[in-house]
C-alpha cells in the first residue's frame, strides 16, 4: 500500500481537477493524491470514475485510514476493469460507463466472473445489471448458481426483461419462504413463467412525500 501511495503521489501531485476538488476537505490529505491518480488512470482507460470518487468519499465518511481508502478505491478500479473486459468478451458494441458500473456493482455482490460472463453472453440484448442482480439475489438465498443462471436466462427468453428479472428471483425466494425446497421453488417459478408478480407501485401519497436529495447543499 505504501508503494501504491508512493507511486501514485507524483502523478496526482501534478493534477488538479474535478475529482480532487470533490475530495478536498473530506478525504484525508494523505489519500487524496493517490485517489486522484487512480481516478485519472481510470479516466485514461475509459472507465467510469464516479464510482471511484464515491468509494473514496465513503471511506472518508466511515473514518477509514488513508491507506485503506486508497486500497478500496484501487480494488474498485480493478472491478471496473474486470467488468469492462467481461462485457467486451461478450461481444457487441463497446460497453457504456453505465453498463460497466452496473456489472461491477453486481459482481461486488460475489458473483464469480465466469458466471457473470455466462449471463452476459447468454443475454446479449439485455441490460446486464438486472440479470446479474437477479442471479446474485438467488445465489444470496442459497440457490445453486448454475440453476439460478438457467432460471434467469429462461425468464429472459420468455419475454421478461430488465428489472422484471428481479421479480423472478423474488418469486423464487417467496416460494422458499413458503416452505418449498430450493429445487421445488425454482421448478415452481419456471412453470409459472412469464407470470411472476410485480412489486407494488409507489402510491401517489408516497410520490408526493418524496424529497429529492441535494448532496451539495
Amino acid at each position: 500500500m505504501l508503494a501504491l501511495l508512493a507511486v501514485a503521489t507524483p502523478l496526482g501531485a501534478q493534477i488538479d481537477g474535478g475529482a480532487r476538488a470533490r475530495l478536498a476537505g473530506r478525504v484525508p490529505e494523505a489519500a487524496i493524491a493517490a485517489v486522484d491518480s487512480l481516478v485519472r488512470a481510470a479516466q485514461a482507460d475509459d472507465l467510469p470514475t464516479e464510482p471511484l470518487v464515491q468509494k473514496a468519499l465513503e471511506g472518508a465518511a466511515k473514518h477509514a485510514p488513508p491507506g485503506r481508502i486508497v486500497q478500496a478505491v484501487a480494488a474498485h478500479a480493478d472491478q471496473l476493469r474486470q467488468a469492462r473486459t467481461l462485457l467486451e468478451r461478450a461481444g457487441g458494441p463497446p460497453p457504456t460507463a453505465a453498463e460497466i458500473s452496473s456489472v461491477a456493482a453486481a459482481m461486488v455482490r460475489g458473483l464469480p466472473p465466469p458466471l457473470a460472463e455466462r449471463i452476459v453472453t447468454a443475454l446479449p440484448d439485455e441490460p446486464p445489471g438486472p440479470a446479474l442482480h437477479a442471479v446474485a439475489d438467488l445465489a444470496g438465498h442459497g440457490f445453486a448458481e448454475d440453476a439460478a443462471v438457467d432460471l434467469i436466462v429462461a425468464s429472459a427468453r420468455v419475454g421478461l426483461r430488465g428489472l422484471r428479472l428481479l421479480d423472478v428471483a423474488t418469486a423464487a425466494v417467496h416460494e422458499l419462504q413458503r416452505g418449498a425446497t430450493h429445487g421445488d421453488a425454482l421448478a415452481s417459478v419456471r412453470r409459472a413463467l412469464p407470470d411472476v408478480p410485480s412489486p407494488p407501485k409507489p402510491s401517489p401519497a408516497q410520490v408526493n412525500r418524496a424529497r429529492r436529495p441535494h448532496p451539495g447543499v
Binding site: E58, A72, V108, G140, K201
Partner: protein, 204 residues
C-alpha cells in the same frame, strides 16, 4: 279625483277671505286645513339620504386601531363587484378547472430514469437517523429520516435515479448501520457491508 274649485286655491293661498266663499266651499277649505295640520304633526320618516348624511356626520369611532379593525371586520358591509360577463365566465372556467381537473398532488416531477425509494428503520431512542450513500455523496444530513409519532420507526421517501444504490443508516451522527430489512448487501471494502437498493422507474 275631482278638481277643486279655483276659489278654494285662492283662499288657501290667502288671496281671498274664507268668508267670501259659499258655505259648502268654506267647509271644504276647513277640511283641507285640518288634513294639512295632521300631516304636519306626523314625523317624517328618515330617508336613505338622511341616514347617509347622519352616518357621515357621526364622529370617528374611538378605540385602538386593532379595535377599529376588529369592528370593521365583524360589521356587515355591502360589497359590490362590477365585472364584465366575459370575465365572469373566465373566472367560472378557472374555478371549474381547479375543482374538477384531477391533479397528482404537489410531489416532485419524476424523470423517466427516476424512481421512489422508501427508507424505513426501527431505531427506538435515536435522536437522529440519516440515510447516506452515493446519492448524498456519503454525507449525513442530506436525507434525514423522520419519526413524527415518536414510535421509534424512522422513515424517508426519496427520489433517486433508477438502478442499484448502496446505502447505510447513520444513527445519532455516529453509528453506521446497514439496513437490516434491505435483503441485499455488498461488501463496502472497509470491512463492513452496505445495504443495496434497486430503484425502479415509477410507472413501470
Amino acid at each position: 279625483m275631482s278638481e277643486l274649485d279655483p276659489r278654494i286655491h285662492q283662499v288657501l293661498d290667502g288671496e281671498l277671505p274664507l268668508e267670501s266663499l259659499p258655505p259648502e266651499l268654506q267647509a271644504t277649505v276647513l277640511r283641507l286645513e285640518r288634513a294639512a295640520g295632521l300631516l304636519r304633526a306626523a314625523e317624517a320618516p328618515a330617508g336613505v339620504a338622511t341616514r347617509v348624511l347622519a352616518a357621515l356626520r357621526r364622529p370617528p369611532p374611538g378605540g385602538s386601531r386593532r379595535r377599529r379593525l376588529l369592528r370593521w371586520l365583524t360589521e356587515r358591509h355591502a360589497v359590490t363587484i362590477a365585472m364584465r360577463p366575459v370575465w365572469s365566465l373566465a373566472l367560472a372556467a378557472v374555478l371549474a378547472a381547479v375543482v374538477l381537473v384531477p391533479t397528482h398532488g404537489t410531489g416532485p416531477l419524476l424523470g423517466a430514469q427516476e424512481g421512489i425509494a422508501q427508507f424505513v428503520g426501527h431505531f427506538p431512542g435515536a435522536r437522529s437517523v440519516d440515510v447516506v450513500g452515493p446519492f448524498t455523496d456519503w454525507r449525513s444530513g442530506v436525507i434525514p429520516l423522520r419519526d413524527e409519532d415518536h414510535d421509534g420507526v424512522w422513515s424517508a421517501v426519496v427520489v433517486l435515479p433508477t438502478g442499484a444504490h448502496e446505502y447505510m443508516f447513520v444513527v445519532d451522527g455516529e453509528r453506521w448501520i446497514a439496513d437490516p430489512l434491505a435483503g441485499r448487501y455488498v461488501s463496502d471494502g472497509f470491512g463492513r457491508q452496505n445495504a443495496l437498493l434497486i430503484v425502479r422507474p415509477v410507472g413501470r
